[in-house]
């Protein structure tokens, strides 16, 4: 769903609208859940930028792994990271980047 115009009378359901906008600076949560997860370890606690909102909203694959789907729909976001910030040995001047889709529950908003 792409919103072209907002109508102030319309109230959207919880989780219906994406919480992050393209360009927002985010940090991947530093969590270590046991069981099925979809956020690779190398990105935990790392800072990135929202590049694209994946439409439509989807179910949480981590919950789906245990057969729990109901009510778990939120957005996935394609998030961009600078390689030079992910890996100590990477050439500091490099513009190379890493892109990955991350479910909303893993994202924390960073300050401006």
């Amino acid at each position: 769903m792409t919103i072209i115009e907002r109508d102030e009378r319309v109230v959207s359901a919880m989780g219906e609208m994406p919480s992050f906008e393209v360009g927002a600076r985010v940090r991947i949560s530093q969590r270590h859940p046991v069981g099925h997860y979809r956020v690779p370890l190398y990105l935990r606690g790392r800072d990135g930028v929202i590049e694209r909102i994946i439409q439509p909203a989807g179910i949480d694959n981590e919950e789906e792994a245990y057969g729990r789907n109901a009510g778990s729909k939120l957005h996935y976001y394609r998030v961009a990271f600078a390689m030079a910030q992910l890996w100590p040995g990477y050439a500091a001047a490099s513009r190379d980047s890493l892109h990955i889709e991350v479910f909303e529950t893993w994202l924390e908003r960073m300050g401006e």
Binding site: R38, I54, E101
Partner: protein, 221 residues
């Protein structure tokens, strides 16, 4: 293997050695678990054997030739390319390529400034609806770990040296979205038809580990 362990020995009328024709690898832990779960599911009638066979047919029908057709169409039809980059899945569906697994598709365009590479560090996510099964190396840990941490070295091992001023973008697929690289159209193919162009496009070029080259098909022309 000692001679008495070979069941064929009892029936042999000659004594020269044979190459062993046996399935010598024992099934691994996960192979046994898969068989057990599958047999239980069928036994309890949660799924049918015909459903499993049908899904194998679905997967077998997907090959890199489908992806190559998508790439060739994008090269010759700018409007299609625009739709493909905006929404990979619906553009593939235009060409009759269905998405049986509820994944989305983001198509990543290689240019003279940007080179894309795809990987799945967690497992083996791959644009199966358009490319079929992934190659073995794509599923193995050396590629999965190194593609995200030293992509230039990995690409060089595939013979693909990316100039320093070209930005590398590695896409790690994990959940809902799969990725397909739209490789650069090689120079010297002006005026070629879609089928001729598609014949140039290999699996590896759509993963992003190799460029499309004229060599093979060019020699045939």
């Amino acid at each position: 293997m000692s001679a008495h362990a070979d069941p064929h020995d009892d029936h042999h009328g000659h004594d020269h050695p044979h190459a062993e024709i046996v399935h010598s690898g024992r099934p691994g832990y996960y192979e046994i678990m898969e068989t057990a779960v599958r047999e239980l599911l069928v036994e309890r009638r949660l799924i049918g054997a015909d459903e499993i066979r049908r899904q194998i047919e679905v997967l077998d029908s997907r090959t890199p030739a489908l992806g190559a057709r998508v790439v060739a169409r994008a090269w010759v039809d700018p409007d299609f390319k625009e739709r493909l980059l905006a929404d990979g899945r619906t553009a593939c569906e235009e060409l009759g390529i269905s998405f049986y697994d509820d994944t989305g598709l983001i198509v990543l365009e290689n240019t003279d400034r940007v080179h894309n590479l795809i990987v799945c560090t967690l497992c083996s996510c791959y644009p199966r609806p358009v490319l079929g099964l992934p190659p073995d190396w794509y599923k193995l840990k050396p590629y999965r770990s190194r593609a995200v941490s030293e992509p230039r070295a990995v690409l060089a091992e595939f013979g693909t040296v990316i100039p320093d001023d070209v930005e590398i973008r590695v896409s790690d697929s994990t959940a809902m979205v799969r990725y397909l690289v739209l490789p650069r159209r090689p120079a010297g193919t002006e005026g070629w038809g879609e089928e001729e162009l598609a014949a140039l496009v290999t699996r590896d070029t759509m993963i992003g580990v190799a460029p499309v080259e004229l060599t093979i098909a060019g020699a045939e022309r």
